[in-house]
Amino acid sequence: MSIFEYNGSALVAMVGKNCFAIASDRRLGVQLQTIATDFQKIYKIHDKLFIGLSGLATDAQTLYQRLVFRHKLYQLREERDMKPETFSSLVSAILYEKRFGPYFCQPVIAGLGDEDKPFICTMDSIGAKELAKDFVVAGTASESLYGACESMFKPDMDAEELFETISQALLSSVDRDCLSGWGGHVYVVTPTEVSERILKEFVAKRPESVVHILLSPTVCPNPPNPLPPVRSPSFAPPGPPSITFPCSRHHPLANTLRPGVTSIGYPLF
């Protein structure tokens, strides 16, 4: 197993209209074993700048400590916060310093720059920057994340819609990756506020609308006559009433996200 896949991680950042969102999964593992389901991978540098660090957890922690140190020094000298563009150049330089013995991390940087213009970027473990206008991804689930983001992303979403989109993209991607998941941690940042939300699997943010959509074992082309009731997953919390439908195609909310997509086993927002 590659050193980048030792702990497992999934990170994504997206740009909206005068806002950005950055999200991560919550798993800390040691190869196949899960150690914790509340591990933080996104760190705040200042109110309008966040960095997510995927890859090896020990290097992520070391790198974060070094970056906070450098930023605090910068604040003392310049008497202001660092701009996201500047910070990403700093991260890139620090990573390239270790070119022949690198930190095994892939950072995702998201911030609001001059005039609160959202800025996101990612880089590889030796500091090759990739600026993007729409979204950036990193981690063991990055390939799934690319696909999910590419199809779900729209430009100029507002904060609420951005939160829904990034959450869906994150959850659906980590569900296909055994090394990341166990919920999500989403920060949505606008010029006036920072909201931090935790996504738990199988719990909707609006309890009345918890829906477990279960794929039936065989394709169901016709609306069902009374079929035997489908049991919801035993590990789903008992709380709010859940509505189950025998076939995901016939769920009323299916195909509303976008044509052909039905979510599996977690709430549609």
């Binding site: 040691v30 074993q33 150690i35 090896l56 957890a57 020990t58 922690q61």
Partner: protein, 193 residues
């Protein structure tokens, strides 16, 4: 392979380690103490390379004591955990210590806490942690039976269940375990006065 595990209770923390010192097929010792008392209210259970384990835990213990001598107040558990992680991280790319650590402590205003520190210096504050082949059984048993705010009796009962599971299901099961507990009255071996 050495088993160490620990968990947080209502106002105490428990660390358990097996007590066999093994080299290849030979059992050198069956009463090895792998849980070091860092100071009056901290325990460090360690597993891994025997020499590294003994040497590194003693190094941390002496540095924790030095801080108290120099500054007049003891380190908090979080500070001790971060110091340990720092030492492991610095050594990682030069001369790594192959030691996995479960650090448990009790702070007056914070209460009990347990920290998981990998041999490659990944640090995380947890409610329950385990290392070694025994971790496969310990973590599963704890996932099933652990609750927040367990009493000492309940926690020791869970520890007993875990030890029984390790003994019965692990082919190279260690025969003896050491249990140490830390609470507001200090760190001590469980079962001793």
């Amino acid at each position: 392979m050495e088993s160490v595990f620990g968990l947080v209770g209502k106002d105490f923390a428990i660390v358990v380690a097996d007590s066999s010192a093994v080299h290849s097929i030979l059992v050198h010792k069956t009463n090895e103490d792998k849980i070091m008392l860092l100071d009056s209210h901290k325990l460090m259970g360690a597993s891994g390379e025997t020499g590294d384990r003994a040497q590194f835990t003693e190094y941390i213990q002496k540095n924790v004591a030095l801080y108290q001598f120099r500054n007049g107040i003891p380190l908090t558990t979080a500070a001790a955990a971060n110091f340990t992680r720092g030492e492991l991280a610095t050594a990682l790319r030069k001369n790594p210590y192959m030691v996995n650590i479960i650090l448990a402590g009790y702070d007056k205003d914070i209460g009990p806490s347990v920290y998981f520190i990998d041999y490659i210096a990944s640090l995380h504050k947890v409610d329950k942690a385990a290392f070694g082949y025994g971790s496969y059984f310990a973590l599963s048993m704890m996932d099933r039976h652990y609750r927040k705010d367990m009493t000492v009796e309940e926690a020791v009962d869970l520890v007993d269940k875990i030890i029984m599971e390790i003994r019965s299901r692990l082919v190279v099961a260690p025969p003896n375990f050491v249990i140490k507990i830390v609470d507001k009255d200090g760190a001590r071996e469980y079962g001793l006065a």
